[in-house]
């Protein structure tokens, strides 16, 4: 009888200790969460600004790129016209066009230009064209943002990917 009572008390003490531990754990998690929030909110803002800036650069550079003259078969045309020429006559202008775009993408920019049909409409390109600048430091870039533009008549989307630099 006495032994039975002693065993029951022992079980109760173990249960209380476990409850206390879980309370302590919960409080610790909350404190950690608050700590992280306090310390990282500044960094998050800085990161957000970096992304916005990169996006803005991407938008501007894409527009400048599209209006940059390139030479195709001794004819000077803008890159945007070159894209349409390439899109409609890939067999003829494919490699020529890629080489011209490659010249425009500066290696240290670590940017890339891709062309693909918008949505499911238009001519399907099995492998959308992606031309990237390949600088030595580009491997270190981990985060990118992008700007894109759609040619409404052809429903063709041109995307310019640009690195986010903190």
């Amino acid at each position: 009888m006495f032994k039975k009572e002693s065993n029951a008390k022992k079980g109760e003490v173990v249960g209380d200790a476990l409850d206390l531990l879980s309370i302590l754990f919960t409080v610790l998690v909350i404190l950690l969460f608050l700590h992280l929030t306090f310390t990282s909110s500044g960094e998050a803002k800085a990161q957000q600004v970096a992304v916005s800036l990169a996006q803005s650069y991407a938008q501007q550079e894409l527009l400048v790129l599209l209006q940059t003259p390139i030479t195709v078969e001794s004819q000077e045309i803008t890159l945007s016209d070159g894209i349409l020429l390439w899109y409609h006559q890939r067999d003829r202008y494919g490699s020529l066009f890629t080489a011209e775009v490659q010249k425009l993408l500066e290696p240290e920019k670590c940017a890339s230009l891709s062309i693909e049909p918008e949505g499911s409409s238009g001519i399907q390109i099995v492998n959308p064209l992606v031309i990237s600048s390949q600088g030595r430091l580009c491997q270190l870039v981990t985060k990118y943002t992008s700007a894109s533009l759609t040619f409404p008549n052809e429903r063709l989307r041109v995307t310019y990917q640009y690195p986010v630099r903190p």
């Binding site: 996006q55 045309i77 016209d81 020429l85």
Partner: protein, 398 residues
């Protein structure tokens, strides 16, 4: 309530309290954090100004492609969008009639506006353009509608900008003026040349082709309104996105202000009495009639050869006659031998570019000598008749 249940009760309260505390603190953090400087301006730039720039770029791209199509279409019609005022020859627009260029030549600026507006409307991309002006390879458009872009989130921002545009077509509509100048030079050089084909071949620029740019061929011998095809050195992208030169199709009228004087006149007497055989070169332009004049040689060659000579001033005492031969009745084949033609009537025919007239007239008396002159009449206007004077004696040629 057991001790355990009481403990669990407090744990729940603790968790709820912690979450509440977290939310209160977060709100305080967010509120107390200073706003980033330039956030509104940056948002405005990114969400409206840049978007407007992208919209404008797309719009200019669409206008450029429409302008290229328009340039190709316009050149094919010789610069006209409606039926040309001076008509067409071989389905090609005439740019002049004789000396008149003003009423026949197209107004390119007006036609560019009309055709480009039509194309933009069809594609539903007309932004209320009120004028298109070109200078060199640049095309400028003026719009009456301002473009508006509104931001989509965070702030209410609206950016209003003009929708005027300036684009480089890589092709100039001024080429029409250069073509007109060249056409005028050709008219001045070749208009009065009877052999127009030879003159044009020697003087036209290499890029000018007769009738077609691919299969060049000269029109009919006596045609003085010549269709040309000229390929521009400027290439534009056509609707299939292929480089294509702008191809102009137009016709130039080389009809001279006055008919050509008849050349290579030869006259001899026919075995039949009072009959002459007169032959001369066919007129290089279509004529209504040829007129043969004969006059007693006693009148004097020097009197006839004067620039101020007029037929009606010849005194009635001198034997002289004037006989018309309308080309409507000109026979297209000549007999192999004119000697055996029946006497007492006149006959005329054309063969191998030579017109032959058998003229019978009772005034052509045997033993007498006559001067023979010939003229051609076009649209009621007669050519000079005394540039060549042929003499013949009846009963033996001179």
């Amino acid at each position: 309530m057991t001790k355990k249940a009481l403990l669990m009760h407090w744990i729940v309260f603790g968790i709820v309290g912690a979450i509440a505390l977290f939310l209160v603190l977060m709100a305080t953090i967010v509120r107390d954090q200073p706003e980033l400087p330039g956030q509104w301006s940056f948002h405005f730039f990114q969400q409206t100004v840049m978007k407007a720039a992208a919209d404008r770029f797309i719009q200019e791209q669409q206008v450029k492609h429409a302008a290229w199509q328009m340039a190709l279409d316009l050149a094919k019609e010789g610069g006209f969008v409606t039926s040309p005022p001076c008509g067409m020859i071989n389905d090609t627009t005439l740019w002049n009639t004789k000396e008149d260029w003003t009423s026949c030549f197209p107004s390119i600026e007006e036609n560019v506006f009309s055709l480009l507006t039509e194309k933009l409307n069809k594609q539903n991309v007309n932004k209320g353009y009120t004028s298109f002006r070109f200078s060199g390879t640049t095309l400028r458009g003026t719009s009456s509608q301002p473009g508006r872009v509104q931001s989509e989130r965070s702030f209410y921002q609206e950016y209003t900008s003009s929708q005027d545009f300036t684009i480089d077509l890589g092709y100039s509509f001024d080429e029409y003026d250069s073509l007109q100048q060249e056409a005028k030079r050709l008219v001045n050089t070749c208009q009065f040349k009877p052999n127009l084909k030879s003159c044009l071949e020697q003087n036209k620029p290499v890029s000018w082709k007769f009738m077609s740019c691919t299969e060049e061929r000269y029109p009919a011998f006596d045609q003085r309104q010549i269709p040309f095809c000229v390929k521009s050195s400027s290439l534009v992208l056509n609707e299939n996105y292929q480089f294509q030169p702008v191809e102009y199709h137009f016709a130039v009228d080389f009809t001279p202000g006055q008919p050509f004087a008849v050349e290579n006149i030869h006259a001899q007497d026919h075995p039949t009495p009072s009959t002459l055989i007169i032959s001369f070169d066919q007129s290089p332009i279509p004529v209504e009639k040829y007129t043969v004049y004969f006059i007693d040689s006693s009148y004097g060659r020097s009197l006839l050869a004067q620039p101020s000579f007029e037929w009606k001033t010849i005194p009635s005492t001198v034997v002289h006659q004037k006989i018309d031969f309308p080309t409507l009745f000109l026979k297209k084949e000549c007999p192999p031998d004119f000697t055996f033609l029946p006497g007492g009537s006149s006959y005329y025919c054309l063969e191998q570019g030579k017109v032959t007239i058998i003229l019978y007239h009772t005034d052509l008396q045997q033993g007498k000598s006559f001067f023979v002159l010939v003229s051609a009449t076009v649209h009621g206007e007669e050519s000079a008749l005394n540039t060549e004077i042929e003499q013949v004696t009846m009963g033996g040629s001179v």
